[in-house]
């Protein structure tokens, strides 16, 4: 089963996604794919909070800041996977350290393809994304390419997902399918 979870910042997406992924695992392996590359104390603090939230839940954490398919080499595909988040994954792929953080636009299509393939390769997958599309800002071209790219990934995942959830203030709106 594939579930896409989207919503605004601090809306409760990660908590809900964790519960869904854990529920889907039915006591089997449950992997947390951590995608954020911490850049400063703010990132570290947020990561620490997420780690604390997951304590005792039984997740196996795998660090994967790019090339999501590499996770498949060393895990049980019959397990349940939580990818948190496509937002960070695309950021890492689009502005790779190896290119001095210069934009690699080919990363959008690659990232979209790999995430869809990943989701279809495992038994259960919950993917968290961020809804960053309804504000009144006029962004620069680079930011628009990123927003457009992430939206394309969201839409591709939504089209193959069994369930699509929008989270707002910790509450769920079902946009597609049913809750497991």
């Amino acid at each position: 089963m594939l579930i896409l979870v989207s919503g605004g910042a601090k809306s409760g997406k990660s908590d809900i996604a964790q519960k869904l992924a854990m529920g889907l695992s039915e006591g089997g392996k449950c992997y947390y794919i951590a995608t954020t590359i911490p850049c400063d104390a703010e990132d570290w603090n947020r990561i620490q909070k997420h780690i604390k939230d997951r304590e005792g839940l039984g997740f196996t954490t795998m660090e994967c800041d790019r090339n999501i398919l590499s996770c498949l080499e060393c895990c049980d595909k019959n397990g349940s996977f939580l990818v948190d988040s496509s937002t960070a994954l695309l950021m890492n792929e689009l502005f790779p350290e190896t290119l001095g953080y210069q934009m690699d636009e080919s990363a959008i299509e690659r990232c979209r393809h790999e995430l869809c393939l990943f989701a279809c390769s495992v038994r259960h997958c919950v993917i968290v994304s961020d809804f960053i599309y309804s504000d009144a800002e006029r962004y620069n071209e680079t930011t628009e390419i990123y927003r457009k790219g992430l939206a394309a990934i969201d839409r591709a995942l939504a089209s193959i997902a069994d369930t699509v959830i929008e989270v707002c203030s910790g509450t769920i709106t079902l946009q597609k399918g049913e809750l497991p």
Partner: protein, 124 residues
């Protein structure tokens, strides 16, 4: 009239194309304060409200003045209502004009759909 709203890049126009069998010839994309209502589908109303802001035109009054022209239209507008209050007064005013126009249009719409990740959420 059918109103389609949603965030940027959510697939609003694609949804309209698919569901109403639109071709490029049926679509007018707003770039300034004039709208070609002879086209079945009016896309990018947020560009129209932004142009109205620059030209000190009330977008609702414009629609009222042309009320006989869009009763059968498919209108598409980006939702720009969320996020923090913009620092720029222009952006704040744009958000207000756009939001008020969407409220006005949704009152007069037979159907209102919000597109989220390419999926339709029927609001009316």
């Amino acid at each position: 009239m059918i109103l389609i709203i949603g965030g940027a890049y959510q697939g609003k126009l694609e949804f309209a194309r698919m569901n109403f069998s639109l071709t490029d010839q049926d679509i007018f994309t707003c770039t300034d304060t004039e709208i070609d209502f002879s086209k079945q589908c009016i896309n990018g109303l947020e560009n129209f409200t932004y142009a109205c802001l620059r030209a000190s035109i009330d977008p609702i009054e414009y629609f009222k003045k042309n009320s006989d022209s869009w009763k059968q239209s498919i209108l598409i507008c980006r939702d720009i209502s969320s996020g923090v209050v913009p620092m720029s007064s222009d952006m704040r005013l744009w958000r207000q004009l756009n939001g008020r126009l969407c409220q006005y249009l949704s009152q007069h719409a037979l159907k209102v759909s919000r597109i989220f990740c390419g999926l339709e959420q029927r609001l009316k």
